[in-house]
Amino acid sequence: MSKAKTTQEPGGRTELTRETKEKDTGLKIAEAQILGRSLAFLAHDIQNHLATINESAGWMKDLLEQKDKRGFDRVILFFKRAQNPDRDSLFPGLDTIQKQVGQASAVTKRLSSFAHRLEQKKSVLDANKVLEEVLEVLLKETGEKGIHLELKQTKEVCMIEIDPLGFQMAVFENMKSIMKNLKSGARLLLETTMKDGEFHVRFTDSDDRESSNSLSMEPDSHDFLRYMVGDQGGRIRQHTGNEKPFNTLVFALAGG
């Protein structure tokens, strides 16, 4: 969570500067928005699986009711047939239900792991793992915008000391500002590396089209993001040289 920076006044009283207060309020609002959005996406996912389960169960019920309507003779015939069409019709429904339950369960596991992360205050965590969790939540959103998300992770274990929500928020905010400028069909590549005792998350628009401004940010949002990442002990680097523009979030490795 956000940690207010303080200034010492001559009288010895510690007081928050107005700017810091405003930024901290901004962080809290952003935290609430990100949480709300993530939960809404996960809830939507679960709702969709439930809807499919509901339809599949309903479809099987419809088939059985239809069989009842055909009369007793048909029911006898139904049981006499070694290969009856009703059996063939019912199995796909059961398969769908099982599949959907499995997928809904994967979403609730994701939700549970996401929620538990939020309980944690600043702690030493595997940055790649936390990043994966954020992206799983974001995957649906990028998919709906027609943006293809790619993640290339370093195989090294990168432990960083972070507040999980703050880290997730920094990634969210960075992605949000980038996605604003990307068109449907674009590819966004996230690459993690470990270099000089630091963990780097590099965001590159891997779209083949001309997109020199896709990773540029509004000055306000850049300033806010810088503050947000700084609050986590990290920093943001924007590169707009000759090669494709990119943003990198940089965090110091724990004990590094």
Binding site: Q47, A51, E55, S56, G58, D62, Q66, G93, T96
Partner: protein, 159 residues
């Protein structure tokens, strides 16, 4: 009655189509907003059952475009992601109804039939006014349907 189902959840929408078929409502299925608009260009359905959150073009944007280009198509929103704001917006864009997933199949079938009945009433009313020579009123009804919207509301409660 020509009904189009628009939803990116393929298993869901195919099963829904089968179940509606068993209730005498034949449907065509497409899986995103662009496909829906393409379909409408080729053959105008009477009723569209529309999901909101889909890849590419959002359902609300499809509704917005249809309300301008094909106002006579009746749209029933069927979503798992509905917010109060979405519902208000759908109402403002004159969607016939707004249902949340998972919806009861009989309720959905009733709403589709109600939407179709509403559309037919509107067409018949427009024709009747046109026959009387009241072309402005006929045009108004065909375009907006506001005067008959209350009739549509009545269908919604008919169960």
């Amino acid at each position: 009655m020509k009904v189009l189902l628009v939803d990116d959840e393929i298993e869901f929408v195919n099963t829904l189509s089968n179940r509606l078929g068993m209730r005498g409502i034949q449907t065509d299925v497409v899986h995103d907003g662009e496909q829906a608009l393409e379909y409408v260009k080729k053959q105008e359905p009477d009723v569209i059952v529309l999901d909101l959150k889909m890849p590419g073009l959002y359902g609300m944007e499809v509704l917005r475009r249809l309300s301008k280009t094909n106002p006579s198509i009746q749209v029933v929103i069927l979503t798992g992601h509905g917010t109060d704001r979405d519902e208000q917006e759908a109402q403002r864009l004159k969607a016939f109804d707004y249902l949340s997933k998972p919806a009861d199949i009989e309720t959905l079938a009733d709403r589709i039939k109600g939407a179709y009945k509403f559309k037919m009433e509107k067409v018949m009313a427009a024709v009747a006014f046109a026959e009387e020579g009241e072309f402005d009123t006929a045009r108004e009804i065909a375009k907006e349907g506001d005067k008959l919207k209350t009739t549509g509301e009545m269908f919604k409660n008919e169960k």
